[in-house]
Symmetry: D2
Subunit: 288 residues, 4 copies
């Protein structure tokens, strides 16, 4: 159920990480190994920070492996920060407005996982979205609702805290409907400068999530690999599943953890703790 | 902004009315004469009652004039009742979930026109949809909201009365937001037996809508036309704009009017009068 | 590399065999077991003989598993004879004109497999197509070339003999280019009355192909299965891979074999022997 | 039947010329004024020289006016040289492989117009394509054949001379089939440094083609327009039809003329004279 990746580092042609790696995200669209299904063929999306104002987005309902335009774009756009997502739909239609990443202003958002009992909780969740933003929800995925809740709960000020409030609110709502598995998620967020990622589940085994190791370590471990020698201190990848089986390249992000990635190769881990949100205040807001 | 047509009569190959008429709905996708724009190229849909359970739907984001599959389907499906719609998008994405007709059970629904100030009223309108059906809204058009409001207000019992309540509620909501042009619409509805159509606008000039004349009249007026000689007493068309300029073939449906079409060529006109709906009751329901 | 199926028998809703079987062709688009790849997600096609003139075709570049229109069409069209194909592209673009079945007049044609060294032999093969039909090749698959060669070599008079000449000609052409694996193929052909299928390879292991067993046998072996009790003497399936693992339901079509399926459950096997075609005559024709 | 544009000048965000002009090429996809039809909604393509190796291409079967990805790409890619094309199909399918520009190596090619009697001459024309390149023709447009003929006749050495030979060969072939209107065309070609354009017809009125005037002239004529003040000496546009009605901005390229556009605002006109190509030599080559 979906795979995603994010790059923050030196500017690279996007194809380097989408196509020119042994088990990159496009290969994962056809042959994922750690997901619920090997096939993530229900559309995809790419968001990048490069030329022009704010992030660009390319989304398509085609499988990533067969989209010629994705090859073209990836081969002709350089970016220091980008996110790609391949989708395995679970209920909502295969349409561009359901493809990740979602965007608002400078913000991009991707998700792997699901909200439990979505049909039952959708209305309550949408009522908690800032009424001004309500009409900006164009698709029908759970992810877009999570994103707009997070925007409502302060994503632009503190993404991790906003996601903790969002997940807390979703869990409270699900509980009220008797739904035990409220949230199964890895999230990726960026504002074009910093990259945040979350690995969390209300219950049960958590979706996989990995960060690339320190570039020094990678180069030292694999001196024979010319691609790795090009890595700099700035370069970090966050991925749903590793691009290769080489030892020492990837470190698993622990369950219930948020990470912050910044230029200079900074990778900080924090516990991710859903927050109880003041329900009456929200209800009042929703009833406005 | 959109064109639609509906056929109720003897079973015919759908292509007879989509392609084999001089200015049929597919020609109107490229060369509409009475709409706001000549081009209705933002997807289309066809709903028909034939083999299998309930109505079938074929929808595509391609322009109707260029879709080979539509030609195939129209040339190989016979139906006594079908509706086709070509779309000119005004704001919402070009995606299949935004293509008409919309369906629930045996019911099909099409619309030409718009809701004024949709961005402002969308949330309030969606709150009035039966909470059980809230999660069934998959797209982002005004039409799908109208359809689900009408279902909430009793479409299955009395389609015209339900649409009068729906329009009344939308007008009240728009008024509360200071929006004068709440509803501009022609609607088409069917349950597979009967066909209903509405022509109405809160204010300003109304969208065009026509019914085909009595088949006897048509045959008498145009004895030289072999296609017209095939018409039976059962056959009626409702169209956004006439398929031909021939005199005596089409009768304009008056502004502010609903029509009911039944087998045997029955065509009844009724005034369409939006109803004031009990707002507190709705609010209570919405807050449930 | 592709899966296909064909039904000849009592008229059925197409969905019965596309969706309502445990491992039908749509499931095989995602989870094929006997093909080179489990995924056949590069478009699909359905051809059926029902209402209207000649066979209808619905083709799409979407994966079969995610195409809502395919579900609709399959649920609302009944046919006594139809063929469906899910594609795994190997080189040629994912576009409708490359989706099977191909059609000419009453004839439909599907293929699983490939022509070896297609890039090298394409020109020579196309030169052998009847010059009058040359411009009818709209796509870029090997299959469409095979189909037009077979039409040139008399498909309409004797499909199996025409395919034997076609394969013989392709093998001779490949040999001249030093290509050993000229043809890897299962073919399916129909004129709306009879169904023909071929299993053949110039060299190496052959693609899988199966026929459903005699309905009496199936019903007797599985008396508990209510679906099987509905089978009549007229019903036969030809499939790239079985829909189920139940014993006694499927019989493998031997390597190097053509079969003819007719109403009344007739299933005849013949050896398939490529014919040497008079090369000078063809060259003269090609040079015309 | 199609509109195209090409920019050579200072690097600009592509959207400046696709979307941010009053009657740019995207507007022309819906409202062309000088073409055979106002609607060019059968797909489009964009080719640009920017980051990465060689030109990038984005092609889609959607109408240009409704493609969100085109807006994204145009808003986030800067290029000093690019070509865009909106298509009105006349016979060949709406598929990406039929969208312009066509590409080989560093070369891009676009076309407005048609080859007369294409069905009759297609085979002879394809036989004259370098046999090594024959299998590179992936679509079914006349334009792709013209492009591969021009490559065969030396496009990479002298584009205009190669097109003169190409047109001469097509005219000779058409004549042999009794077709009078062999070629109706404006062509655009680039190698990433220079831009060439041709306006020519075997007979009858010629398709429109314009070049932007000298930037000094434009700035002097319209001192009030802030966009025009940004023009430099390097900037030139070639367009099927003008983006605006402002006087002095556009100069018509005369009938039967080729132009060469280079950096520094160079715009050279030459007569375009189809060349008689040695037919026996070609025949020998084709028979190889």
């Amino acid at each position: 159920m979906c795979r995603w990746m994010a790059w923050l580092g030196q500017p690279v042609l996007i194809e380097e990480l989408l196509f020119n790696t042994p088990h990159g995200i496009v290969d994962q669209s056809l042959h994922a190994r750690m997901g619920a299904e090997p096939t993530n063929g229900d559309g995809f999306g790419l968001g990048w920070y490069g030329q022009g104002e704010g992030p660009g987005i390319y989304r398509s309902v085609k499988p990533a492996w067969g989209d010629d335009n994705l090859r073209e774009i990836a081969a002709h756009i350089e970016a220091p920060l980008f996110m790609a997502h391949v989708r395995a739909a679970i209920g909502s239609p295969v349409q561009e407005s359901n493809c990740h990443p979602f965007r608002r202003g400078r913000w991009l958002f991707v998700h792997n996982g699901y909200l439990g009992g979505l049909h039952a909780v959708r209305r309550d969740l949408m009522l908690a979205i800032d009424p001004e933003r309500f009409a900006d929800v164009h698709g029908s995925t759970d992810t877009e609702i999570v994103f707009h809740l997070a925007l409502t709960f302060g994503l632009a000020d503190d993404p991790i805290a906003a996601l903790e409030r969002t997940v807390g609110y979703i869990e409270a709502t699900a509980r009220a409907h008797g739904i035990p598995d409220a949230v199964q998620a890895t999230f990726g967020v960026s504002d074009g400068v910093t990259l945040w990622a979350v690995r969390y589940a209300t219950t049960g085994p958590q979706r996989s999530l990995f960060a690339s190791a320190d570039p020094d370590t990678i180069r030292t471990l694999h001196p024979e690999n010319p691609r790795f020698q090009l890595l700099t201190h700035d370069d970090r990848l966050i991925v749903s599943e590793p691009f290769s089986d080489l030892p020492g390249i990837w470190q698993e992000i622990p369950a219930g953890t948020a990470v912050t990635v910044r230029g200079g190769g900074v990778l900080l881990e924090h516990p991710f703790r859903p927050q109880v949100v003041d329900a009456p205040a929200l209800a009042a807001r929703a009833g406005a």
